[in-house]
Point group: C2
Chain length 222, copies 2
């Protein structure tokens, strides 16, 4: 895997985050609007053409392939294309991971129309995606890289859209090359989904801990 090192200062990374962050946020707004719109057919057709034109304009100069995970000499990371936490990626839900001093990973969020599965509920697959990122980050939060082996997710009851949610995860056991990480998504009444993951430490590692310019991730969960 190619963790690309770039010769960028922390200030330059911060400047770029202030450019790509709002772009990602605007795309996320558009995703929501496209699902919920009930404007007339011609307005939808015009919007479709305009969106394609903007995409073509942005593609006038673009990287080949995916964004990757980039970092600079001081270890500041940019996982901006990441499907769950990438600030430039419209697919990534509006979730910021935090690392409490007591350990583990935590996030508070509220999901809207683009994350729907059963009517009015968060898609089970979105719950799994969020928990995968949380557990992976918790597994790496002691700064020892680990690969995801197995994750088991138990759905206790529906997780609702448009509701304040909290997700958290922490390493609960270590044994040999294994770490067990447990986490959950909860609403004000308690857990809605719980997860347990087995993470495996590689025999040798040259992975390095990453810090993030926006505090959202110390490594690229994935």
């Amino acid at each position: 895997m190619d963790f690309k090192q770039h010769d960028l200062s922390d200030d330059e990374i911060r400047r770029r985050a202030e450019l790509y962050g709002p772009l990602g946020a605007a795309v996320r707004e558009l995703i929501d609007a496209a699902i919920r719109t009930e404007v007339d057919d011609d307005t939808i057709r015009t919007a479709t053409t305009q969106i394609s034109d903007i995409a073509a304009g942005l593609r006038a100069r673009q990287i080949d392939g995916a964004f990757g995970v980039r970092y600079n000499a001081s270890g500041t990371g940019m996982a901006w294309g990441n499907a769950v936490v990438g600030l430039a990626n419209g697919v990534a839900p509006p979730i910021t991971l935090h690392y409490p001093p007591t350990g583990g990973t935590r996030a508070e969020f509220n999901l809207g129309a683009p994350y729907e599965g059963p009517p009015g509920c968060v898609h089970g697959g979105i719950c799994m995606m969020v928990l995968d990122a949380l557990l992976g980050s918790a597994a790496a939060s002691d700064e020892t890289a680990a690969y995801t082996g197995t994750i088991t997710v138990r759905f206790l009851r529906p997780t609702m859209l448009f509701t304040p949610l909290t997700a958290s995860a922490e390493v609960t056991e270590r044994s040999g090359r294994k770490k067990i990480v447990r986490g959950s998504i909860a609403d004000e009444h308690g857990d809605t989904v719980v997860a347990e993951g087995v993470f495996i430490l590689p025999r040798e590692t040259n992975a390095r801990p990453l810090t993030s310019v926006d505090g959202s991730t110390r490594r690229a969960p994935g």
Copy 2:
């Protein structure tokens, strides 16, 4: 859960799919372009403003809340806002579920930049999201509704971006109110991720099987 019935003909649903499908596809293109663009700062700022303006235009008339799962009198379903298979939802990866006559659910796909986790690889959470949808659809493909109880996902090796992938799932056991469903994601060398799900049949159900105007889903996986 509110499965809304709408008084729309199959033709009208088809007409709307031909309107919202291209809108969703254009949004998906834009998500990809926003991650990969390297155009100059001013072009990015202009694009950001234009995208926000289009979103505001689409919001001039919009539904309150999420799209829901809608169907008409003949049982044709519209889960167009669904996070994994919704044709109007830019978050949904470019995956179409198929139902082979031999049973189960199957999909062939190829994921690009918006689905990245580790550099060059599909995000583990995206693999889980896809498998959740596949397993859920397979569990429902015998037309008995079932709730997702537990899903266990085992990551065997990285799943690569820009690579032809196949996912499949089928019910492998039934016992009492439980169904066991197994599935996997595979590349040309074999399975990369395998999953097993336990689905629970409700004691009573008024759920009805749905057909889809675009063949992508018989019920709304979620």
